[in-house]
Amino acid sequence: MTIASALALILALLLVAIAAWTIAARQTFAAVVGFVAYGLLLSIGWVALSAIDVALTEAAIGSGLTGVLLIGAAARLRTTEAALSAERPGAPLRWLAAAASVAVAGAIAIGVLSLPDPAPTLAPAVAEHLPSIGLGNAVTAVLLAYRGIDTLLESIVVVFALIGVWSLAPDHLWGGYPGPRQYADPNGILAYLARVLPPIGIIVGLYIFWVGADLPGGKFQGATILAAMWLLAIMAGLADAPPISRTWLRILLVAGPLLFIAIGFAGALTAGAVLAYPDGYAKLLIKVIEAALVPTLTLTLALLVAGAPERTAPP
């Protein structure tokens, strides 16, 4: 056994162990911490498989953003947690759930293990046609040229998720400011971090978006970093989230997907198919779509964390 495969084995065992611990943990907060650690370990696993794009997304969205959302949920559930964990489901229900989980995991395992070797792949076809798109990063090419419809629906679905969060607001708060107003010591450590880190984080976020054409990176990962910087300033009390009734906010929230749809339908006229790009313009159009999606995604991801409106709208 080589050192590399030994390390991979240790990583896989750690992943299974922490996944089991996350399920077994009795406290919601402990389970969330386990889930975040699981996501970070999983992104190391993706790096070991040379899937840097997936690793970046897992660390940013799967572990970071989802982790923050789950911590918020756990904090809200704290008051009712003792009562809820007191009423355990009966033994038949628990055995049924365990049997269903084992059946699903077993079916997936059989499916993966019975794949032909070498596994069927379109990777050579993608690599062959990469020069005609003009991108250096095959993942970005697949996401925006070959599977454009998936990426389009993905960018719409996060906006729907935000509308879902907003719709939890009571009627009299509709259109108001999301979440409570945050206050922190203006000379404290959090305010200091919120002044020092955003200039660096904004450059890193924009760089990760821009470099996604040729190297691992992209709009989702970059937008998560930008959203994190905004949230840091909000949490330190240096900035406030805008009221959700603002027109500019709503325009920016739909601008990215709308431009994607417009360019997609324009492809039907200029390139012969919806979501196709005319020859020679593929890279330009892909970067335009990604650039329009960055503000949409940054706002959506940050406002998802900020939560439903809790303060009345300004007159």
Binding site: I189, L190, V196
Partner: protein, 97 residues
């Protein structure tokens, strides 16, 4: 020359790994939140610093080397800030054991 660089890399990364191990042991064994934080920040600062130092000779050019140093500085900043905030909560008695 490259032989000595290899020795340097192995020595520095091993020393870094030792500090991570010591920090993890401290995190598990120390009695209260403040001393556990002390152990944890040692792992971040010294351990990661030594790993970074050991990897510097293997960096792909000056820009990649600067990126390595920059990553370490960012982790230093983050761990110093976060440990301050955790320590403040712990001092107020909000520490979960």
């Amino acid at each position: 020359m490259s032989f000595f660089l290899d020795i340097f890399t192995v020595a520095a990364v091993s020393a870094g790994a030792f500090f991570f191990l010591a920090g993890s042991v401290g995190l598990l064994r120390f009695p209260d939140a403040l001393s556990r934080l002390h152990a944890l920040t040692k792992a971040d600062n010294l351990g990661l610093g030594l790993v970074m130092l050991g990897l510097l000779p293997r960096a792909d050019g000056l820009l990649a080397a600067l990126k390595l140093v920059f990553v370490w500085l960012l982790v230093l900043l983050a761990s110093a800030m976060v440990s301050q905030m955790v320590a403040r909560v712990a001092r107020r008695g909000g520490s979960p054991s």
